[in-house]
Symmetry: C2
Subunit: 556 residues, 2 copies
């Protein structure tokens, strides 16, 4: 049985799921022993610990110029001490250029089978990846497991499925028979999906696998060799993915340099040299807007970006104000506001929020939100695990700056004790009240656990501000609460024009930060928060070119 | 019966044709009276003549700042004297911005029905359009009829079909039901295809409808208002299309400004102001590479270009050298080399071309080609109609320059008499021999009836040069002749890497210049000849953004 046959049913289901967009997941998100085995967690933890302080050899990437690594755990604030091979841009691209001519000639079924098999292997390492993710990103255990393991694998599968489907969109051959009256012109035509060339996938420090695997698997599925350039602060999780891809390639007698890791360090970044190398044709990037916009403007490259945005919550009217405050408090606390989908600007009318039992004033809602944030932070069984740790020290500095801004500070950021990691870099949310006239304060992204409560004249102004910022600065998510169907439709329509997806009236165990593969497009590509979307047709189609050849049918 | 129901079968067949890519055409290319009616031709000619020297009123575009027009017939070298409304960029964009919010809310079926109906109306004006095309572009009658009429309408239908299909790609709504163990999270999700905004379609002087209708219909189908900015030398053919679209819109109680004509004159071009206007989000362009690359680099615009390229013919081995020479001579003469798909560089090995009856030397093949060109030019029943007239006087100047270049001139350009238009601006092909070392001569596009015979060491060098130029300067078509399947595959593979479609071994009544809707992609988008392709999924998908909203299912 070929690897494609082994995984064919999953690929078929995934393609169907891409279209129907009902719930689908191929990799279980629950890290329970019943699913992953009794010793999966402890064994994963041990394997992670065994990697610390050593060279990461399993990539087996041939001669390196040296070994280096500067990852540091936000939980211990100690260096991980793991070193990765340092390989020059010229060597990486030369190896990729050679591998290109092998990989592009491998048919779509074989590519899909190999890539699916690599995900299957990675599944056996989800717990290692979870600990690697915790100790590079600062995510809590559960998020680290889910986001870097099963959810990332589902997003990767999504890219495989979308790529596989698009490669089948046109026939390999067709007989073209045109009646001309007294005779017919008969041509044999053929179409080839020609991959664009070397693909560089640039990772971020907060979601080192989830945000990178779509580009990696999307490029590989469509026949392009990939160089993965992780964030120097979060290499290990994606290095494990790359290792497994390389092993499956080698087992199938293919050049493992079809997928390479191009790790670097903070003091010697290779990103620009890689991106600007003339042989590099495709670039995937997650990160800040300045660098993302620089990449988008590079000539003769096809670039896919997820940059940053300003995410809004519009509060108009609610059924149950306490459930709303609880839901939003969780969204704010989750991973200390370090998700690209986390809410930042909360627009609340000065007249308050309408409820079935009367209006809840701006101040009353602010207090409910603060109380809910505190109660989650102070719950020792939940708070530390929901908040996790802060990846980058600069985020802590930003919080301090926000507290100095003009406006009432409803809640100051503080430290809390993580029962397992006494030295964790932590910060609880700051909540600041800002008037709607102070666009200079809330008009840009303030990354981290920072919530701004913006007092507006009314919901129309709330919506106008949310739309304006999404169009000008980008937005990846939006929350909205309204029990009025006319207002709801207006928000859906106006935020739609700003290419921003809206989560309406969320309460309970589902949050606006969350984003499900096979159903929720991640980033729309239609506003400055990014030019690509996980995973629509463009996301894979732009990685190759359809070329048609033709020739007359020979007379028999 | 709705307009959609009226045209549903055609749309359904067109969508199927897009996928199977066998022969399909909805609009008959044969201008015979049996198909279009006994008086269709004479009546079309009369209507065209009746337009000369008058204001083109039927657009009914409201107040104009003035009326102007500078079209001139390449056949008579006289001004047509037709004047079009001059409307400022601010007025055009303000009207389009208003129309946007009407058109985007019209559903896909209604849009498709209206657009199909407009094509049906245009079908009744194919002969008018043919004469309008002859007397602006210089095309011969048959090409003018086919390219600007049925072939353009088929390309427009292709864009309607592709757009309609892509708008159905994701469901309007889905019920998302995620098992969480003890409970399920249930969300209603919905997806909206949000059009990007005002679309500007910039036309060219040689194919004023064929190259513009895909952008016009592609943008309209996906909900964007369109401003058509024709080349000031070739307005009338596309003005008739725009008029018919506006009439059908008005009949259906929709703002006709959903599609406007923004005509200008050579002395006061509005193209840059339109393209750079912040409200303009989509730009389609056919024309020169310098302006096309300027447009591609504009920030915050989605740009579709067809620029210029260097088209090659690789001659290795043939079955029947005379048939090959006859086929290529026709390709060179057709519309005096003014097609973007016309061949320019003919790579012939210094050792000659292999045939079943021995090798044909470089010189012998050159002479055959020259003889075939002459015999077609000198055939009074064919020559003048195949060559047509020269659109732009600069093309004639270029021919003169080529004759001065170093290298043997195998054939000088000359005039010939057009029996119907004594004053036609005409030029027969110049054929120049160039050594393969002289890349400075053959390395760029020489638009017009200019054929360069390049003497190479062997077919490997021929292919290497054709590939190199396609990658560096772009290519839209390629011809190749080889009876060796290994060489044939090598050419298919290497030119594929340069994103250039190859026509192999064409002889008889099919030419490398020709390009059939629903089967041949026009321009691949993968080399510098253009970044878009008629009509792949990207061509329509990039005109709108998928935005997904979601909301919990209310407890019953």
């Amino acid at each position: 049985m070929s690897l494609f046959e082994k995984h064919e049913m999953t690929i078929t289901k995934a393609i169907e799921a891409l279209h129907v967009r009902t719930f689908f997941a191929a990799f279980p998100e629950n890290p329970s022993p019943a699913i992953y085995g009794e010793s999966a967690d402890s064994s994963g933890k041990e394997k992670f610990q065994a990697m610390l302080g050593k060279n990461f050899e399993e990539l087996n990437q041939g001669d390196a110029q040296g070994w280096a690594g500067q990852e540091e755990s936000p939980y211990t604030q100690d260096a991980l001490g793991i070193k990765y091979p340092s390989i020059s841009v010229d060597v990486l691209t030369a190896r990729a250029a050679k591998a290109f001519h092998i990989w592009r000639k491998v048919n779509a079924k074989t590519r899909a089978g190999i890539l699916m098999e690599s995900l299957e292997r990675v599944k056996g390492r989800f717990f290692e990846i979870a600990y690697a993710t915790m100790h590079t990103t600062g995510q809590g255990y559960m998020m680290a497991f889910q986001a870097s393991g099963p959810h990332a694998a589902d997003r990767a599968l999504e890219a495989i499925a979308a790529g596989y489907e698009e490669l089948q969109r046109f026939p390999a051959k067709a007989f073209w028979d045109k009646p001309m009256g007294k005779f017919n012109i008969q041509l044999n035509k053929e179409w080839r999906a020609v991959p664009k060339g070397i693909s560089v996938v640039i990772g971020c420090a907060t979601f080192p696998t989830w945000n990178s695997v779509t580009g990696i698997y999307g490029s590989l599925m469509t026949g392009n060799p990939v160089i993965v350039k992780p964030h120097p602060g979060a290499i290990l999780p994606i290095a494990i993915f790359v290792s497994e891809i390389r092993k499956v390639l080698a087992e199938n007698n293919l050049d493992p340099n079809i997928c390479q890791l191009g790790a670097d360090t903070f003091d010697k970044m290779i990103t620009k040299d890689l991106a600007e190398h003339p042989a590099v044709k495709l670039i995937d990037f997650t990160g800040n807007s300045v660098f993302g916009s620089y990449l988008e403007a590079l000539p003769d490259k096809t670039v896919f970006t997820e940059k940053t945005g300003v995410n809004s919550v519009i509060l108009d009217s609610v059924d149950d104000v306490d459930k709303v405050a609880a839901n939003l408090a969780f969204s704010i606390n989750l991973y200390s506001g370090q998700m690209c989908t986390a809410p930042q600007n909360f627009y609340i009318p000065e007249g308050g929020i309408k409820t079935p039992s009367g209006t809840v004033s701006f101040d009353a809602f602010a207090q409910k939100l603060v109380d809910n944030i505190n109660s989650l932070v102070d719950n020792p069984k939940a708070g530390p695990f929901v908040l996790g740790a802060v990846q980058n020290k600069k985020t802590c500095d930003r919080i301090t700056e926000v507290e100095k801004l003009p406006g009432k500070v409803w809640l100051r950021s503080r430290a809390f004790e993580n029962p397992m990691f006494k030295n964790a870099r932590v910060a609880t949310p700051v909540v600041l009240e800002v008037d709607a006239s102070k666009k200079e304060i809330f008009g840009g992204e303030l990354f981290g656990p920072i919530a701004l409560l913006i007092k507006t004249k009314n919901t129309d102004q709330s919506l106008a501000l949310a739309q304006e910022l999404a169009i000008q600065h980008g937005a990846i998510s939006c929350g909205a609460y309204s029990t009025d169907p006319v207002i709801r439709e207006k928000i859906a329509d106006e935020m739609g024009l700003a290419s921003t997806p809206v989560s309406f009236n969320l309460t309970g165990g589902i949050y606006m930060n969350q984003n499900a593969a096979f159903s929720d497009f991640h980033v729309t590509g239609g506003n400055p928060a990014g030019n690509a979307s996980f995973t629509n047709a463009d996301y894979v189609n732009k990685r190759f070119t359809w070329v048609g050849h033709r020739e007359p049918v020979k007379a028999a």
